[in-house]
Every structure is written in structure tokens, then in C-alpha cells.
């Protein structure tokens, strides 16, 4: 019965999502704008002048310096968008998960949630359908962003040897982050009574989460205190895992392999803990008052 309830509720949400172009199209354009605009306007290598103190750099020298910066500071990425893609996708996941709960708050305000609570369905299915629907929506956008990044001029250049396993690894990391965040924000959405409260909490939580991670900036540029914080940030674990797999393709140094293993363990642990905490919080939020 849990499975039937879960499918029925998730199906309802996804059907509404697909039928509403106003909900689907902005997601596509957000991905496009983030990659196209951030990928070009934030590109630090474009800040390098062609002449410094009267010393003129030849186009070859300029290109070489840019490649050297990308290689040393940006994990060996062939283009800045190659570096940025994993972070942008994480950003898209975080904000979609965080605000995905608005539908649940609306369901409460419009009385639909009470209708569910008087039906003989499993309480867990209400919670996990919230988690699942947000995951499906956000992961679709993540995949779309990945394709856009590849198709953009000077876009994502995947490392040599990037194949099916690496693809599964990248989207496995994104999936674990999406699942964990969805658990947290779904439980939060079921617990608050108004959209205002949800938005206030989400804004408070998401910006520090993103800006203390390596999603947009390399750790090399962080002060030591921020570097320490970023190491414990699940967005860093996800971004670094996906970035390593995208940029390096199939060849890694032993320290990179060790990082991949550690981050995977952290992400799985984080997802399990968030699922349990979220479930407990959601049960409490859905209990008769």
C-alpha cells in the first residue's frame, strides 16, 4: 500500500508540474542563464590583461597563462565552464529543493493535506512523495543543465575516458545531495504553516550553505577558516566529486581516489541521517494535534 500511495501522490505532483509551462520553462532558462552568464562573466581568466606595465603578452602567452591558472587553481579544467558546471548544478539542486516545499505548504493551506490525513494512506507516503517529486523535478533540471553545459560554446569539456561509470558517479553524487536536501526541506515544508515562514527559513539556510562551499569558487582562494568550513559542507563533497569525475574522466591520482571514496561515504551518511531526521520531523508534523 505504501508503494501505491507513493506512486499516486508523486504522480499527481509530476502531472501538475509537466502541465504547467510556467513551472517547467523557468527551470530550463535558469540553467541556461547560470551557465552562459556566470560561465562568461565570472570567468577569472578573462580578467588577465594582455599588457601589464607596458609589457605586451602575445596571444599564445596569454592563452598559456590562462590554461595554467585553470590547471593549477581550477582543478585542471579545460574551460571555466568545465569547472563551474558541477557547482551550478549543485546550486540549481539546492534552490529547487529549498523552494520545492512551497507546493506542500499550499497543499496545507488549500486543505488538500487534511484530505490526505483523513484518507487511509501511510503517513510516510505523504513525506516520501514530497521528497521524490522534488528529486525528480530537480534531477531533470540537473540533467538538462549538464546537456546545456556540453552544448554551450567553450562549454563543458569532459575529461578523457569519461564514460557511463563516471556519468553514474556524477549523477549519483547529485542524487544523494538532492535526496538529503529534499528530506530536510520536505520535512520543513510539512512543519511550517505559511509560505512566508518557509521562504524566510530557506533564505536563511541556503545562502550560507552555498557560499561556504566550493560550488562557485576554488578552495585555494579561501581563507583558512572558510576552507575548514567548506570541508564539512555537503555541497563541497558533491561539487568536488562531480567536478573530479567530469574534469578528470577516468584517470585519477591516488589522493583524488581517496577523496572520491571519502566524499561518497560522507554523502551516503548525510543522506541516511537526513532521511531519518526528516521522517521523524514529518511524522511529528503530520500527527493529530
Amino acid at each position: 500500500m505504501f508503494g501505491d500511495d507513493l506512486i499516486a501522490l508523486t504522480g499527481r505532483a509530476l502531472r501538475k508540474w509537466i502541465r504547467n509551462p510556467a513551472a517547467v520553462l523557468p527551470g530550463f532558462f535558469t540553467a541556461l542563464f547560470y551557465l552562459a552568464l556566470f560561465g562568461n562573466s565570472f570567468n577569472p581568466t578573462s580578467l588577465i590583461p594582455s599588457s601589464i606595465g607596458g609589457f605586451q603578452l602575445s596571444p599564445t602567452e596569454l592563452q598559456s597563462i590562462k590554461a595554467s591558472i585553470l590547471s593549477q587553481t581550477f582543478g585542471g579544467a579545460a574551460t571555466y565552464i568545465s569547472y563551474l558546471t558541477a557547482g551550478i548544478i549543485c546550486l540549481i539542486l539546492v534552490f529547487n529543493m529549498a523552494f520545492g516545499g512551497i507546493d506542500l505548504v499550499l497543499d496545507r493551506q488549500l486543505g488538500f493535506l487534511n484530505s490526505l490525513l483523513t484518507a487511509p494512506i501511510s503517513r510516510g507516503s505523504i513525506y516520501f512523495s514530497g521528497v521524490l517529486q522534488n528529486m525528480v523535478k530537480a534531477m531533470s533540471l540537473a540533467f538538462l543543465s549538464f546537456l546545456i553545459a556540453i552544448l554551450l560554446p567553450n562549454g563543458l569539456s569532459l575529461g578523457k575516458g569519461f564514460g557511463v561509470l563516471e556519468f553514474i558517479g556524477v549523477f549519483g553524487a547529485f542524487g544523494l545531495l538532492a535526496f538529503a536536501l529534499s528530506c530536510v526541506f520536505t520535512a520543513l515544508a510539512l512543519s511550517v504553516k505559511s509560505i512566508d515562514s518557509l521562504v524566510a527559513i530557506v533564505n536563511f539556510a541556503t545562502f550560507p550553505l552555498v557560499f561556504t562551499s566550493t560550488a562557485l569558487f576554488p578552495e585555494a582562494g579561501f581563507p583558512s577558516w572558510l576552507s575548514d568550513i567548506s570541508k564539512g559542507n555537503p555541497i563541497t563533497w558533491t561539487t568536488d566529486t562531480a567536478r573530479l569525475l567530469m574534469i578528470n574522466g577516468g584517470s585519477f591520482t591516488s589522493s583524488q581516489i581517496s577523496n572520491l571514496i571519502n566524499y561518497s561515504i560522507y554523502l551516503i551518511g548525510f543522506a541516511v541521517v537526513m532521511a531519518i531526521l526528516g521522517y521523524v520531523a514529518a511524522r511529528s508534523a503530520l500527527a493529530p494535534v
Partner: protein
Amino acid sequence: MPPIIEAQNLTKFYPPRTKAVDDVSFTVDEGEVFGFLGPNGAGKTTTIKMLTTLASITSGSASVAGFKVAKDPSAVRKSIGVVPQELTADDELKGIENLVLAARLHHVPGSEIAAKAKDLLTLFDLEDAAGRRVRTYSGGMRRRLQMAMGLVHSPKVLFLDEPTLGLDIQTRTKVWDYIIRLNKDRGLTVFMTTHYLEEADGLCKRIAIIDHGVIKVSDSPARLKEMYGGDVLTISVDGDQDLTGFLKTVPDVSDVSRDGLIYKIKLPRTERALPVIIDGVTNRGLRITEISFTRPKLDDVFLEVTGRTMREDEGGGEEAWVQNLNMGRSTN
């Protein structure tokens, strides 16, 4: 036959000091339409929430369809249909999709869903609109769809919370017809709350009036009107002989007032006393030149019991918000 709903000393306390429902006891028989009336904040919604497992019970007990609400909420949920005052059918889904979703969430076997949906769409005159998205529905169509959704799993008891809130009088009358048909043709037990006293009067076999969390009276509308109101019979006669003394001796007459040749007589039911009065007047050599009577309304009972009219209590914050929301989501 045991009652299908039984509440015993039902109490709901919201900390720190709000007793929303205070030691309420009542029963509803199988096949009965039972109305719950009360001003805003009287405790009727809290009572319905406890009976439908949405709110916990602080003390006392309740059973629905033979299952204890506190001990076996899951069995209660399988036995009840709930039609809330909010319009909860999904705007972006078609009518038929909402109905199928409700059936699936109530675990109706897949092989039965199509037949049940067709039956209910026919019953509520929604066959032609079934393939349209709900956002194109009028308020009355939404309400009918909502009732169909509440019945798709063939519940033993249907809870209707303000079923005609915000509907125009024609649509309201149509909804009343559906409720009567469900009760008469299908033997469905209906527990309803309403703001419209004429609605309770016309639909309910028995009603309970609740105020400040306490049931003040509970009986059939006719009995309550007899107890708290009574008819007012007005007669005009063609002579100035004083009939007050005679009229006061007529059985059941509780009060008589005279204004010239016109008498106003208060009595529980005109039918029983009228022949005696006509005979008495005629025997005294007088002739009745004009006769009329007014029946009491449930409003009079409500006023007597709660000390205020229902109208004074309309427009409570939450209900007004729901009404605005519902009207805003309807196409007309």
C-alpha cells in the same frame, strides 16, 4: 442497532487554556442526516476534526462505524468520507483524474475504479465536465466533484463541513437534493455542519446546537421549534367581546395578547388547537373574519439557545478566508 457515531464526554483542550470542546456526548444513528450547528468558535469544527482523526482527543471517547477513533484511526479513515469546506480538488487535474486519485488514495481496487467513477459522475451530473481541468469548473461543480471524491470508496459515514458555503441559492438547493438522494436512495449516514439554518432544517433528521464547546440542545428540528418557539396564531373577530379568558383555557396555548379585535395566540402547534378555537369563537356568537399563523424558524431556536443570531456570527476570520479562497478559485 448501535449508533454509527458515538461521542462520550468528548473533550478537546488546547494549551494553555482553551477548552474548544467540553464534555460533549451525542450519538448518530445509521442512515441519519445529523446536523451540527453553532457560532464560529463554538467547537463544531474541532468536534468534526476529532471524529475524522485530524485532531487528537484530550479526554472522553468517540467511535465511528464501530471503531474507536483514538485506538484504531486507520479503520475509521477507511469507513468515512470527508468533504471539507475548502475546495481541495486539484485545479490542474481533470475532474476524472481527481476522482481516480481519491479512489487510489482510499485503496479502491483498480478493477472497480472506472465503474465507481462513472456512477458518481452520473449521480452528480458531471459526465460532460469529467475531461476538463477543474480550474474551469464553477463553484457548484467543484463542490459536486468534491462530494463525489468523498464517496468514491463507498464510506459508511459522510462528513460534510459547510457543504454549501459560498454557493448561490440555486446551486445550494441542488447540493441539498444530492444530499437527500444519497441519504434516501443509498442509506448513507451524513454528519454535517452548516451555517445555514434552513439547510439544517430541511435536511437533518436531528440537529445539535453547540456553543462554547458545549452541546446546548439536540433533537429534531420540529421538536426544537416546538420547545423553543411555537406557532403564533393571529385571528380577527367581528365583535368586541373579550375572548382572552377563553383562549387561555385552550390546551397548549401558552400566551394570548389582544389588540382591539385582533388576538395573537402563542402555542406549540396550530393544527391541534385550531378546531377548538374556531368552535369556541363560533359558540360565543362571533365570527372569525381573518386568520393567519407563523411558524417558528430554527433561527428563533438558535437565538433562544445561544443568545445570538447565526447572522451575527457570520464572517469569522478563518471561515471568511476559506470562503474567499473558494470563490477565488471558482470560475463563477
